[in-house]
């Protein structure tokens, strides 16, 4: 009996010890990679036209970050991401609800949706450009369409996964349609929808930066491509670093939110 009572605490202790040790190892790996890059670039094992030493990237960043143009680029990129994601969310959730309410529509449209998922929608860019002009519009349309699909699909799956008993319960207490959605369906589905929303946000980031990279004339994605063409490796890497930091930050915030939202699922 004693052993059985004791074992969870031993496991818990082990688990508690695992997390800090793991993050230590993780940071060690990151530092090692940076150190290797620094060493290989400094010694010329990696050509400086391919990559500049990380320390130099930092120096470039310190010069670039305070400039007005940097502020404009970041602001442009962030607003494009946010607007695209908002459109994806506002259209994706109702689409998911529709696909759930009308399962036949979900079945019939699935091949189209999945094909849309694999479609390089950026091919429509020239047309959008001609229609909307050289502004953030075409990028927003493309990034929003990339963001929408995972949101809609996860919403459908999440609503399907709600236990039938909850529908029965809502009915038995005569919940109004409004109460049914707000007090039962959405709270029940949110933890399951959230991974899709997170994916939708990441896709908005990826879509925006990728479009900027190849097509735009502003934004952090554009700068990285621009300096490549200028053969300015240091500035190209500085902007790549900005994109990496931005993406990792966004992902961190979303992961933190996800943990909070899913906490009461257990």
């Amino acid at each position: 009996m004693k052993v059985i009572e004791k074992s969870p605490t031993v496991q818990e202790r082990r688990k508690a010890a695992l997390v800090p040790r793991a993050s230590l190892v993780r940071w060690a790996i990151i530092v090692a990679i940076v150190a290797v890059l620094e060493f290989t670039t400094r010694t010329g094992m990696v050509s400086q036209s391919l990559m500049v030493p990380p320390s130099e990237i930092l120096i470039r960043l310190a010069e670039i970050v305070p400039t007005d143009r940097f502020g404009q680029d970041v602001a442009r990129t962030l607003t494009t991401i946010l607007v695209s994601f908002t459109i994806g969310l506002v259209l994706g959730v109702p689409l998911g609800i529709f696909l759930w309410r009308v399962p036949a529509a979900g079945r019939i449209l699935e091949p189209f949706i999945v094909t849309g998922y694999a479609m390089p929608t950026l091919l429509f860019y020239p047309v959008l450009l001609a229609v909307m002009g050289l502004n953030a519009g075409p990028i927003i349309v493309i990034a929003a369409s990339m963001s929408l699909i995972p949101i809609a699909l996860t919403t459908m799956v999440a609503l399907n996964a709600i236990k039938p008993i909850l529908h029965k319960l809502a009915n038995s207490v005569s919940a109004s349609p409004r109460q049914y959605y707000l007090k039962v369906l959405f709270p029940a589905a949110t933890p399951l929808i959230f991974p899709g929303v997170k994916l939708g946000f990441i896709y908005a980031v990826i879509g925006t930066v990728a479009m900027e990279f190849i097509l735009a004339s502003q934004g952090v994605g554009f700068r990285a491509g621009f300096y490549y063409r200028e053969l300015n490796t240091a500035d190209m890497w500085a902007y790549i670093a900005v994109v990496i930091v931005l993406s990792v930050l966004v992902n961190g915030v979303l992961t933190w939110l996800e943990k909070r939202i899913r906490r009461d699922m257990l």
Partner: protein
């Protein structure tokens, strides 16, 4: 069609009355006649249990009283009004866990009242009272994920009781619990019911539980089902712990067992046991 039944022939205005109800499901492969014909009355202040082989239509019957399903034949009426949908004076408890995992125990218990539009202070007050009644005091701020199966079912019962239903409908509420827990909660339920004395329709597949709790046990036949026999449980109330050992208790149990065995064999073949 008249909404009110002649008082003398069928029952009182305040009763739950089943008037020749039947339910036939249309499915892709054809039709399933789940409930053939059920008539009966649950009088004021009575606890009625329904037993019968699995798949005979017990849940269907309960859902029809709760207004979740419309009978394809006949009507159910409560207080003289035909049931056309979920009513505010009925409350249901289901076999599966129906707690809302994102709400605390207190908010779960208050859920029915919240939907009814009861102000916050009032519904919390009732909810707290019910939480105490079902023995969950101290767990108000816990979430269902932190509770055992038995405790979750007590939350569901408290939620139903908080709505102060005139008719309480329970579909195998203890079905997923272990024997010890279900006996314990059964006793608790009875203790609470002695105070509220609302009408209860209680579905179970446990004969002992049915005898211990009820004033009447309705035995349903195999599908398409009818009420084969109504057995009056003439054991005195309140029923203390030793009730199970009374000779009369054993007699009633054996009698019900015989009735049910015949039906179970019809559905599953000879030698089969009650599911």
């Amino acid at each position: 069609m008249s909404q009110i039944f002649p008082i003398d022939t069928v029952g009182h205005d305040s009763d739950v009355v089943f008037d020749n109800i039947g339910m036939t499901f249309g499915t892709k492969t054809g039709v399933t006649q789940a409930v053939a014909n059920v008539s009966g009355v649950i009088p004021e202040g009575k606890f009625v249990s329904v037993i019968g082989p699995s798949g005979c239509g017990k849940s269907t019957l309960l859902d029809m009283v709760g207004g979740l399903l419309k009978p394809t034949k006949g009507t159910v009426s409560i207080n003289g009004e035909t049931v056309t949908g979920p009513r505010r004076d009925t409350a249901m408890v289901f076999q599966e866990d129906s707690t809302l995992h994102w709400r605390t125990v207190l908010d779960n218990v208050a859920f029915g009242l919240e939907v009814k539009g009861v102000p916050k202070a009032d519904r919390y007050e009732s909810a707290r009272r019910m939480i105490e009644l079902v023995g969950l005091s101290g767990f108000e701020d816990h979430r269902p994920g932190q509770l055992s199966g038995g405790m979750k079912q007590r939350v569901a019962i408290a939620r139903a009781l908080a709505m102060e239903p005139r008719v309480l409908l329970m579909d195998e509420p203890f079905g997923a619990l272990d024997q010890q827990t279900r006996q314990f909660i059964g006793r608790e339920l009875l203790r609470i019911w002695e105070k509220t004395r609302n009408r209860v329709l209680f579905i179970t597949h446990d004969i002992q539980e049915a005898v211990y709790l009820s004033d009447e046990v309705w035995v349903m036949s195999a599908r398409p089902s009818v009420v084969k026999e109504v057995v009056t449980i003439d054991l005195p109330r309140p029923r203390p712990e030793g009730t199970h050992t009374l000779p009369r208790f054993r007699e009633l149990e054996d009698h019900l067992w015989e009735l049910v065995k015949v039906e179970a064999e019809k559905t599953l073949g000879p030698g089969a046991r009650l599911a």
